[in-house]
């Protein structure tokens, strides 16, 4: 067990020398990706993972920490992607376009979050499902945005067209948003989120403004996903309605649940699992889906708390050894 010798240590995100070592190793690995021999060819895939990891963080904030299920996050992703692409195409600087996309998605999050205050359980899930599908259908029919064909978008012009520079940009955004999420989790807002998830009435009695917190969760989650959407579109150089299907929303939900619902590292692990499985099984089309489904079923039956949940149990076992 770690002995905390100061408040500073208790409050820090990384508390022990071991933690710093692990973090340093991870950081070094991530920074070296475009240069390492085998991994070099997968820069695109790692960038893809980072984009999805941002969405996983967003989902963890909403579903994991606040307990509001969303089956429509592809809608927020689409809003961000289309907004970024459209604005950047008009000549707006990329960062500004990205921020505008975040604002637009956040606004959509507010539009959904306010009615969602009255909903719970299956009603909330299906309402968000409806939202996601509605967004997809609307952009599918909106001629200004290319209707069913979509349109091509650029990466930030300063970075050029190759993968590695864009990878570092995405990495930067991911680190920034991840840092924000981990800090948020530790703050009074994060505690309020978890209180709302676990005992809504008790939270209200303890002074948590239910409406504000729940809506905040939606808006933040949507804004994060909007940013990820902008990066997603630029990564693929293209946006089209087919990319933002219900299937994608389901994958986002799978990421947080399989990785460990309620834990931020779990969300990242889940993102790794889903993207990894997708990439690894990309070749065998139907069989890949079969294996994917089988993995999901097995994982949910054997470890409902997800990968990170299992890791916590293992760690607890070793920490309390030999008892």
């Amino acid at each position: 067990m770690t002995l905390h010798k100061s408040y500073r240590q208790d409050l820090a995100l990384i508390r022990t020398p071991m933690g710093w070592m692990a973090f340093g190793l991870l950081a070094a690995l991530l920074l070296m990706v475009p240069f390492l021999p085998v991994v070099k060819a997968y820069v695109f895939d790692v960038t893809f993972f980072l984009v999805f990891a941002i969405v996983a963080l967003a989902m963890a904030l909403l579903v994991g920490m606040t307990g509001q299920v969303s089956l429509g996050h592809a809608g927020f992703l689409a809003a961000g992607a289309y907004a970024t692409g459209y604005l950047h195409g008009l000549g707006v600087p990329y960062l500004l376009a990205l921020m505008a996309a975040a604002a637009l998605s956040g606004l959509l999050g507010l539009v959904i979050g306010l009615p969602a205050l009255r909903l719970e359980g299956p009603y909330l899930a299906i309402a968000t499902l409806g939202f996601g599908l509605a967004v997809q259908q609307i952009i599918n029919n909106w001629d200004l945005l290319g209707a069913s064909a979509g349109f091509a978008i650029d990466r930030p012009r300063l970075l050029g067209f190759s993968d590695p520079p864009f990878y570092y940009f995405v990495l930067l955004v991911f680190v920034f948003l991840g840092w924000m999420s981990f800090n948020l989790e530790r703050s009074h807002v994060g505690r309020a989120f978890r209180a709302v998830r676990d005992a809504e009435l008790a939270a209200q009695m303890s002074g948590v403004d239910l409406a504000r917190i729940k809506t905040l969760a939606f808006v933040l989650s949507a804004a994060f996903t909007g940013v990820a959407g902008g990066l997603y579109g630029s990564l693929l150089f293209y946006v089209s309605p087919q990319n933002f299907s219900l299937f994608l929303s389901i994958k986002f939900l799978l990421m947080v649940v399989l990785g460990g619902l309620g834990f931020l590292p779990g969300a990242l692990l889940g993102a790794g699992l889903v993207v990894g499985l997708d990439t690894a099984l990309a070749r065998a089309q139907s069989l890949s889906q079969l294996l994917f489904g089988a993995v999901v079923v097995l994982l949910m039956m054997l470890e409902p708390h997800g990968i990170y949940g299992r890791w916590l149990r293992i760690r607890r076992y070793f920490r309390s050894w030999p008892m």
Binding site: V63, P122, L129, G130, L258, L290, P304
Partner: protein, 283 residues
């Protein structure tokens, strides 16, 4: 008229979903794929084994019931202590497995599953009806009537209602809860299969065929109220009719979007659906 016929499909799907939700509190995302499996079985029996349509349809309905019951017994019941979200994800995984199973075993090429009889246009007082639409609507209504009779006038129906209301009390009174829930799943899957068989003639038979109806079915169930079976029927027909009306008179493309926005509108006004009851939560 076609609104009523597609409404029948949505209503059947919604009924199955609400039945499952009320008895086992599971949102079954594999519902559509279970129906498609039955449709594929019917297709194989019809084409490869030359079994007449009615027999194939009935056999596939029975098969679907058995598969659904086994699915619950072997996979979902052991996991029943998990959170609702976990169970939802479990059914999602099953949906993936079923979908790809269909693709691998039956192929993704476009097949055509015929209806009971060939379509004809009838003219009644200046309005033309499609015989197929009428048949679909009629068969759907018949099945719903059958379910209603089952629930109200049979012992199984009584047991189902009891378990849906108070599972612990039902068990304490000696009802075989496991058997009752397994049959609930069997019945619900049968309804899904019926919906698929009614839907298949209007579209191409392929593994993802029921994805749309499943989403609409969920929306219909929520609009009607997840705790209300009549609500599911109401929601299904309302959605079907409105979808066709909006599609015809407003704009063709936004017919579908309308459904998905409608659910948000309804839920804002009535957070538990049109006919749903407010749950009283003990604190």
């Amino acid at each position: 008229m076609s609104g009523v016929s597609i409404g029948s499909v949505y209503a059947l799907v919604a009924l199955g979903l609400v039945l499952l939700y009320r008895t086992t509190t599971i949102l079954n995302f594999a519902h559509g794929d279970l129906g498609v499996l039955a449709a594929f079985l019917a297709f194989t029996m019809l084409n490869s084994l030359e079994i007449p349509y009615l027999v194939s349809a009935l056999l596939s309905l029975l098969a679907a019931g058995v598969i659904g019951a086994l699915l619950y017994l072997l996979l979902l019941r052991p996991a029943r202590n998990q959170s609702p979200l976990g169970l939802l994800i479990l059914t999602l995984g099953l949906a993936f497995v079923l979908n790809s199973f269909d693709a691998v075993v039956f192929g993704t090429d476009n097949k055509l599953l015929p209806a009971v009889m060939a379509d004809r246009i009838l003219r009644l007082g200046g309005v033309s009806f499609s015989l197929l639409s009428l048949l679909t609507a009629g068969l759907g209504l018949l099945l719903m009537l059958g379910l209603w009779l089952l629930l109200l006038y049979t012992r199984l129906g009584l047991a189902l209602r009891a378990v849906a209301q108070r599972p612990e009390v039902a068990r304490a009174l000696g009802l075989p809860v496991r058997l009752v829930l397994t049959s609930a799943w069997g019945i619900a899957t049968l309804l899904a299969a019926a919906a698929a068989l009614l839907f298949a003639p209007t579209t191409l038979l392929q593994p993802s065929m029921m994805l749309g109806p499943l989403a609409k079915g969920f929306v219909a169930a929520v609009i009607g109220g997840m705790s209300s079976l009549p609500g599911a029927v109401l929601g299904g027909y309302a959605l079907g009719v409105l979808e066709v009306l909006v599609g015809t008179y407003l704009s063709l493309e936004f017919g579908s979007s309308f459904a998905f926005l409608a659910v948000i509108l309804v839920l804002v006004v009535r957070p538990r659906g049109l006919l749903g009851r407010s749950e009283v939560r003990r604190v």
